[in-house]
């Protein structure tokens, strides 16, 4: 753990500070947690990539129902398998940090909720979203009738151009009305 390869070079550190919403301490802590996830030999790799399963062992993400979507959204790998490099990891933490703007948070929230990655939230996306929110147990799940009613109400309220889906602008409009969003869309290591 103490090898030079696993330490963060100074120029990179200041660059990360400039380009993300994280403070120096947060970046160093992120680096430490990230290197803990790597296997021994991977640590000397110049730009290691951690598979999704390893990322999901982090306590902050372990039980989150959106954990897989979060990894997929921030992953820059070719096959979108959810594996993260350190820079992807910093992107993730930056979007979820204290000082990230509402726009960034709402943008990434939209991408996380867009389960099929088509750029809009349609019926299927919303259904999956509500199921993630309400959990797995039988008494908290919504019945199909309730689900249908809920989604039609959501679309009534937020779908302004009436195309049957919620796009990014409509989503951000809804988010902007809720002051709690910024404080709840946070993950801190």
């Amino acid at each position: 753990m103490g090898t030079t390869a696993s330490q963060l070079p100074k120029e990179s550190l200041s660059e990360y500070q400039e380009l993300t919403f994280l403070t120096k301490q947060e970046i160093l802590l992120a680096h430490r947690r990230f290197t803990e996830l790597l296997e021994g030999d991977e640590r000397n790799h110049p730009n290691p990539r951690v598979p999704m399963d390893a990322i999901l062992t982090l306590t902050e993400l372990k039980s989150n129902p959106f954990k897989k979507r979060i990894c997929q959204v921030f992953s820059t790998s070719e096959n979108r398998d959810g594996s993260l490099t350190f820079e992807d990891f910093l992107d993730l933490l930056s979007a979820f940090s204290d000082s990230a703007t509402l726009e960034i948070k709402s943008h990434y929230a939209f991408r996380i909720f867009d389960f099929d990655d088509d750029g809009t939230l349609d019926y299927g996306d919303l259904e999956k979203l509500v199921n993630c929110l309400t959990g797995e147990t039988a008494d908290t799940r919504l019945s199909s009738e309730e689900m249908r009613q809920l989604i039609s109400n959501i679309l009534d309220e937020s779908d302004i151009d009436k195309d049957g889906t919620v796009n990014l602008s409509e989503f951000q409009h809804v988010i902007s009305r809720s002051p709690d969003f910024v404080s709840s869309f946070k993950i801190v290591l």
């Binding site: 204290d98 939209f110 809009t120 709690d180």
Partner: protein
């Protein structure tokens, strides 16, 4: 980058077909499109206006939100221009999002790529006034400029979303801004870090790096360079808020298990601790320390017994703790003070008033910040889409808490759905009448209980006019704290009886009742102190009435603490054991956030009321808050579970800070101001003895200073003009507000 690029091109090729298809759409029915926007626009025009007028430097919403729209718009624009639409048509059509899924997907994808970002002119016109979906009928005339600047917005020139020319364009536009502006903009773009670093490399070419420094700090000599480098270093130094590192890890654990609501209570506690610390440091440095170094001649060491810690009598009453100890001398003996004599009465007066003033500024500032975050403080529960999109708290990490959160959201959604379904059913007249009666009964019970408790305290204070000994002194304080403990239980029962429409209303109503109770008790006590004790100055009660009042407040604060400990122990620990072992219920008690915060505010009010009479009271409050944190935290972890009711944390925090400022701080400030202005200090003790009012000491000091120093006499003349002419008083308060 290469990976992203190839992927992107694939997506775009599909979209290009859709876009061509889409062209035919508008040409067919422009009128329909004109009609539709009118009925589609919902939401608050207020919000929209606000978004339109946010400053560009304020990492405006345009980057991410309209980036997709602009990239799409640029492309759309070419197609529209080819058709020679009128400006108005173009405006409306271009602001309508596509009805084809494909275009949206490309818009969503394209945002991720650097090159799809629109150009940002230094003038805010372009980025700000891109109309959003909801602004179809509020489109700004600036949209015309976009069409004229179409060449600059040449995103779809070659028909591809992603080209090198676009990236260069973006970079060149960023270059138009100053370094900090550009970086801030770049930071706020929803791109991957690799893309941002590449843009940054273009933005800051190695050559430009030196230019950048010189551009901002145009000085070439060495000290200047060091200064500028240090300034940049400071900017990246840990921000002030993260330097409040006290208890960070505990609070993270708490929020992981209990969510944002409970966290707001502990954050509030920490804020109060820092406010008290600030107060304490000022009074300690300027008041306590000088007096401690020069003890008054008539103080003797007295015998000390443990009871005195609780009653504040005896040894403590003749110590630095209370007003009576402070003398009215001017210190001239040490080397520094022989040149500038340190006058203790003046120091006393100014320290207290200036500390109050500083705290006032801090509270107003945090209140305005809080209001800015939640400008719809009294809005009701919110609609379904808000609940679905915004209610998941990502900070919660423990599995059982996540399960609880899912339960909470599920219950909330189901309740709202059933409420929507049943909204059509009118409640019968009998039902409504019965509800009304229940409300009236509940309010009657609450107000009656408040009235009787206030009356009880009033009579008790009147009968305790003879000198009491030892623990009997604590009786009054115990009664007040007892009322504060028991009556909210009655209020909770009433609230349970009433069955309000929404949990939000219920919380507000119970907070209001609790607040009313505490305010009435405090007012009765203040009236008793200022109206009776201070005016009559009965030597039987005390030779030094300020000491008496200070001791009363000290006892109240201590009793409040003891009762809180008792409540935590009995109400949470014993109740949990009782309900689990005897009642065999699996549910632990819930942490009542509103009640606990009001307790904190009450304690803080007492501290502020008492600081004039007992300068070390903030230290007592600090110790109390410190112990309270650990006690509440441990009790929470052991005994309580997270609440099942939704708690709108931001609204509540705003409400609490407002409550801290408005009845609590302002009330204490009025009390202190009235004492200082009108009440005659006692003649036997304290720094203001033998004066008709506290203010007089300042006037005397000013007179003395006028003879000695020129500058000060100037100041004093200005001050006199200031206070004599009421207009001058209104001006700064007007400015301030």
């Amino acid at each position: 980058m290469a990976n992203g690029g190839s992927f992107n091109v694939n997506i775009y090729e599909e979209d290009y077909d859709y876009e061509n298809l889409g062209e035919s759409g508008p040409s067919q029915d422009p009128f329909q499109l004109f009609k539709e926007p009118a009925c589609n626009v919902q939401g608050n025009p207020g919000d929209i206006q606000m978004e339109m007028f946010t400053k560009n430097s304020d990492t405006s919403d345009s980057e991410s939100t309209s980036s997709s729209k602009e990239s799409y718009n640029g492309c759309r624009l070419r197609s529209l221009q080819r058709n020679n639409w009128s400006a108005a048509t173009r405006r409306v059509l271009s602001s309508m999002p596509s009805r084809k899924i494909g275009l949206h997907s490309s818009a969503g994808m394209a945002v991720r790529e650097t090159c799809a970002l629109p150009t940002h002119q230094t003038s805010s016109r372009v980025s700000l006034h891109i109309p959003r979906v909801t602004q179809d009928d509020i489109t700004s005339p600036e949209f015309e400029e976009i069409s004229t600047e179409d060449e600059a917005n040449n995103l779809a020139g070659s028909g591809l979303w992603c080209t090198e020319t676009n990236k260069e364009q973006l970079v060149s536009d960023l270059r138009g801004l100053s370094e900090s502006e550009g970086l801030r903009k770049l930071r706020a773009m929803p791109l991957s870090l690799a893309d941002k670093m590449e843009i940054r490399k273009h933005f800051f070419s190695p050559l430009a790096k030196n230019l950048v420094i010189n551009r901002n700090f145009p000085c070439r000599n060495l000290p200047c360079m060091y200064l500028s480098r240090m300034w940049r270093h400071c900017r990246y130094a840990p921000r002030f808020s993260t330097s409040l590192k006290l208890w960070n890890s505990s609070m993270k654990k708490l929020s992981g298990r209990y969510g944002t609501g409970v966290l707001s209570y502990f954050t509030f506690l920490r804020t109060l601790l820092f406010i008290n610390l600030l107060f304490f440091i000022t009074t300690f440095l300027f008041l306590v320390l000088p007096q401690a170094i020069h003890p008054p001649p008539d103080s003797h060491g007295e015998s000390f017994s443990w009871i005195e810690i609780f009653t504040g009598m005896g040894y403590l009453s003749r110590s630095l703790m209370f007003y009576g100890y402070y003398s009215n001398i001017t210190i001239k003996t040490t080397s520094i003070t022989s040149m500038v004599p340190y006058c203790i009465p003046t120091a006393y007066f100014f320290t207290i008033t200036i500390s109050f003033f500083i705290i006032c500024i801090i509270l107003v500032y945090s209140m305005s910040k809080s209001f800015g975050k939640s400008f719809q403080v009294f809005k009701s529960d919110g609609n379904l889409s808000e609940n679905v999109f915004c209610s998941w708290d990502f900070k919660v990490t423990k599995k059982p808490s996540i399960r609880l959160q899912s339960e909470k959201i599920s219950t909330q959604l189901k309740e709202q759905l059933s409420e929507l379904a049943s909204r059509e059913e009118e409640r019968t007249l009998m039902q409504r009448f019965r509800n009304f009666l229940v409300h009236v009964a509940a309010w009657f019970i609450c107000l009656a209980s408040i009235f009787f408790s206030a009356l009880g305290v009033y009579f008790l204070s009147k009968t305790i006019s003879k000198v009491l000994q030892n623990l009997d002194l604590l009786f009054m304080a115990a009664v007040v704290s007892g009322f504060n403990l028991l009556l909210p239980g009655i209020f909770n029962f009433c609230a349970w009886m009433e069955k309000h429409n929404s949990p939000c209303t219920r919380v507000y109503v119970s907070i209001f009742r609790n607040l009313l109770l505490k305010i009435s008790l405090v007012i009765i006590l203040c009236y008793h102190w200022l109206g009776k004790i201070a005016v009559e100055q009965d030597p039987q009660v005390s030779k030094c009435w300020e000491n008496f009042v200070g001791q009363e407040l000290y006892r109240l604060l201590l009793m409040d603490f003891i009762f809180t400990v008792l409540y935590t122990f009995l109400g949470e620990f014993v109740w949990r054991i009782f309900s689990q072992k005897i009642l065999r219920k699996n549910r632990k008690p819930v942490f009542d956030i509103a009640r606990n915060v009001l307790e904190l505010i009450y304690g803080q009010t007492l501290t502020w009321l008492g600081v004039l009479f007992a300068p070390l009271l903030p230290a007592v409050q600090i110790a109390k808050l410190f112990v309270l944190f650990y006690m509440k935290k441990n009790s929470l972890m052991l005994n309580c579970q997270a609440s099942k009711k939704p708690w709108r944390a931001t609204h509540m925090t705003t409400a609490f800070i407002t409550l801290l400022f408005f009845p609590s701080f302002l009330g204490a400030a009025v009390f202190v101001a009235y004492t200082v202005w009108k009440i005659k200090p006692s003649s036997g003790c304290g720094p203001f003895r033998n004066l008709t009012s506290t203010l007089e000491s300042v006037k005397l000091w000013a007179e003395r200073m006028k003879d000695h120093h020129q500058i000060l006499s100037w100041l004093i003349r200005a001050y006199n003009a200031f206070t004599d002419n009421p207009i001058f008083l209104f001006m700064p308060s007007g400015l301030f507000l």
